[in-house]
């Protein structure tokens, strides 16, 4: 699952765009269950990429928050998790590239609709970038 690198590149570009030349304290990132990101690969990729942008990256700078997937039906309101979908290994693999293809493999367990929303846990999201003593960009 080397596409972690592609996603890390976006995060790195964002960090560089807000904190270039600064000393990084923390980069906090939410990892959505649907993208099944390998934390170690992602951390390694992001750290390496940040170094190429001139950042010093201490051990504890990159922090992950796991976000479980919450699916909610737009037709009947029922809400459920990834565990209940019974997706196969290959289907999970497909979903990890393009999370929206989950609509190709599962539907609401209550009413059968594919018109459900991924309320939480879709993808990689930047929550916070902190540098020096300044706090910037706290979103959650």
């Amino acid at each position: 699952m080397v596409h972690e690198w592609a996603l890390a590149e976006g995060v790195c570009k964002y960090v560089a765009s807000v904190a270039k030349g600064k000393r990084l304290r923390r980069v906090r990132i939410a990892l959505g269950e649907l993208q099944s990101i390998d934390e170690n690969v992602f951390r390694f990729a992001l750290t390496e990429l940040l170094k190429t942008q001139g950042f010093e990256v201490d051990e504890d700078v990159v922090e992950f928050v796991a976000r479980y997937a919450v699916l909610q039906c737009r037709r009947c309101g029922h809400s459920w998790g990834l565990g209940e979908t019974g997706l196969s290994e290959e289907e999970r693999e497909a979903v990890h590239f393009i999370p929206e293809v989950i609509h190709a493999y599962t539907s609401c367990p209550k009413c059968g609709s594919r018109d459900f929303e991924v309320v939480e846990g879709r993808s990689v999201e930047i929550l916070e970038v902190l540098w020096d003593d300044s706090v910037e960009d706290a979103i959650t």
Partner: protein, 252 residues
Amino acid sequence: MTQWKTLSRDPRRLVIEERLKSVRRVVPVMSPKGGVGKTVMSALTALTLAEKGLRIGILDLDVTNPSIHLALGVDSRLKPSEERGVIPPEVWGVRVMSVAYYSEGNPLPLRGFELVDVVREVLAITVWGALDYLIVDTPPGMSDVFMEVLNNVRRVEPLVVTTPSPLSLKPVKSLLKILREVGVPVLGLVENMSDRPSEHVLSLCREYGVRYLGNVPNDPFLNASVGDVDTMRRTQAFRRVEELLRAQELLR
């Protein structure tokens, strides 16, 4: 409700440019009307350009109804490989990227903002490498995907397809108007399923200063050949597209 991510904070948008850095020209094939031949034109154009030795990619952004893989007869066992992103497999000399690799022929109904996510995701993870042309097959309508292409991809040069029918031409006029408003240069217009150039198509081109590439006749053998590239190459439609591209010096 899903929140719209502010543009600068969506990390994917920042890598899209990087991914397209070595792509010389991006040509979305557009027409607001369905069934006028966008997919066929995308496929024939890509095949023709690749045959001439150019480095070609094709991206199917008709996400809920992907069909480029069908038109090109892409083996359903083929999948992109992974190397710091996703590398599309090459078919007939064309690097083909489609959500169909991941939806596997299942129905994929999506809301507009979900389409936005798909478009950004695909553009952000696909590693094209060096290309002369990236042909983008687009869905009908002037909605989410259309706007994502215009907003996220720099330097697009749409190829506009129409039939002579007023039902196609009217929406195409709106399209040309919008493209002009945002300063997007049109590569040219193809009049498809038409035995001869129509006066009202020509006059629309004059009005908008758009290059009229030519007409492609209605070819009764085309449908039967779809998915079988060798047979498709022998159709009149294919030869005609080749002719138009050569005449317009797009083959470089």
